[in-house]
Symmetry: C2
Subunit: 334 residues, 2 copies
């Protein structure tokens, strides 16, 4: 099959530019035993991809210039040499930014269409699992505690805040536009939210919204907002470091106030986590998230960009915060 | 009884000065039922006291100007209105910088003289418990892992490193004089140690001493050394924040490189802890530490300053790192 792929054409310096990507045409390889040929319906763009485009040592090997951009996808099986799949099946895969892919059937998640397929990349996919395990296992919130979420209108943050409400927390969200703030408080049930771009000194605003201090912080953003949160944490606070999107495009390390004295006097726990640490419990997460979505206890929004060729711009926009909820690229119609 | 007490005469700005303390003469109050009159033999000076002299919000209320300096003591019972103690008993108390004190018998620890009394303020006292629980519960080291200890020649750090060796770790200590370094490697069995004052860029030196990266870090110091450690931590590293002595005399918050992106990509856990969180398990700690000391598996050193009136200078010296092992003031001869 004639394929289209988007490659990393250059390592970005700072915010990625369209010229850091290139679209190429190739042929898909033959389908071997145990493999399937997939047609991408949606591809996911996620903040973590910025890290993979960099050479810095991380939890996964960096991409190399010329590699197909990695990432999660929802796809349709066109051809199967695996007994587990038949043509027409919908699956979640990790085949990256391309129109077609040949991939081992092992590791694909069959999707059952009880929910829209696109949710398998968002609220009922990796972002949802990230929210679920990061909040429950790392933050361990108790009813009545105050939970602050940064990047609160993103795919992960919006889910974190709603799970926090299900668990009985006071939930305060921080986002980057007034529309996002309105969505969080009017539609998702956050107790409070604010637009950090309107509050260059977020400490005061946070303090107003968290009169009892902060017990749990789910951090997607880092930087000055996180500094302000540390100034308000209570004894035995739990801080989940899920992302640091404010730092990903830095060309040199940013300085900030040292936070470890606060960690000490508050006997706080700060833990970085990756959803991959919880893959053995994924079924539990999918089940809970799916049930909550069907019951209307978790709502979600998607920002969908059409066309594989627009994936770079979707990704660049994501890093700038243009999306509300999950950012997706629709590659082919369902 | 005619008493002498050392008060906080002024809140220190930066490094405490002798003028921040005053020595006053008072009378001890009468001994009521359930109380004892104590004669201080040794008093403890510890880095945490610097925090209590500051107004900043912390885990305990700050001292006020005019208060007797707080702290642990080893004392002799002179008079007892408690059935639990008789004159001549030796106890660990928390009666601060004074020659005599009347205090409730409840909360005193009777000392059994199977070890030198002074150890009740060091290796078999709060510093020892701090090392024991901080290392075992927060760092959770496994045999074969690399453990780095800052402030390694202090009362806590020297104990941490030796427990690390008992547990089978590779132990690397960081201290502030060549003599301390020699003590750590020649006498205490540390695998490696270095004098940070001779290594203004500690990253390279740490990397040489930690060829397999760093799994556990027990931090008493903070600052640039800790920044360097973060640059070398392995996946799932555990970092115990016990002290940040490099920061205690700052008159304004110090800036440093942001560390949370590293916490994220290494899925590290950073936890501030206080020994008070483990008081319900103190008996376990005293027993283990006492046994290790008697078996010669944990060695200790004390830096003893004579005379109550010299306590301020002992404390100031402690903050400058003049001590090796536990810093004590001998108030009265045993």
């Amino acid at each position: 099959v004639r394929n289209q792929q988007i490659l990393m054409a250059a390592r970005p310096v700072g915010l990625p530019q369209p010229s850091d990507f290139s679209l190429v045409e190739t042929e898909t390889p033959p389908v071997n035993d145990g493999e399937v040929l997939l047609e991408t319906l949606y591809l996911s763009v996620d903040p973590y991809m910025r890290g993979r485009m960099s050479e810095a040592k991380s939890y996964a090997a960096p991409m190399q210039v010329g590699d197909v951009m990695i990432g999660g996808t929802v796809a349709r099986v066109l051809e199967s040499k695996s007994p587990k799949f038949t043509p027409g099946d919908a699956v979640e895969a990790y085949t990256g930014w391309q129109r077609y892919a040949v991939t081992p059937a092992k590791g694909l998640r069959k999707l059952h269409r009880s929910l829209p397929l696109s949710t398998a990349l968002g609220v009922c996919g990796m972002p949802g699992l990230t929210a679920y395990f990061g909040l429950l296992d790392v933050c361990q919130p108790k009813a009545g505690e105050t939970l602050v979420v940064s990047g609160a209108a993103g795919a992960v943050g919006s889910c974190v805040g709603q799970i926090g409400k299900i668990l009985g927390c006071r939930v305060v969200g921080v986002a980057g536009t007034d529309d996002k703030v309105a969505w969080l408080t009017n539609d998702l049930g956050f107790d409070a939210a604010f637009n950090y771009r309107r509050h260059p000194e977020p400490f005061k605003t946070l303090k107003e919204h968290c009169p009892g201090g902060i017990d749990c912080y789910f951090d997607n953003v880092g930087g000055p907002l996180t500094d302000a949160v540390f100034g308000l944490i209570n004894a035995n606070a739990r801080i989940a470091i899920c992302g640091q999107i404010s730092q990903y495009n830095n060309t040199k390390p940013e300085l900030g106030p040292r936070l470890l004295s606060t960690v000490l006097v508050r006997t706080a726990t700060v833990r970085g986590f990756l959803v991959f640490q919880y893959l053995d419990r994924a079924a539990e997460g999918y089940e809970k998230l799916g049930a909550w979505v069907k019951e209307g206890k978790i709502k979600y929004q998607e920002t969908i960009v059409d066309g594989l060729e627009n994936a770079p711009q979707a990704f660049i926009g994501l890093l700038q915060g243009v999306n509300t909820g999950k950012m997706l690229v629709r590659v082919s119609a369902e």
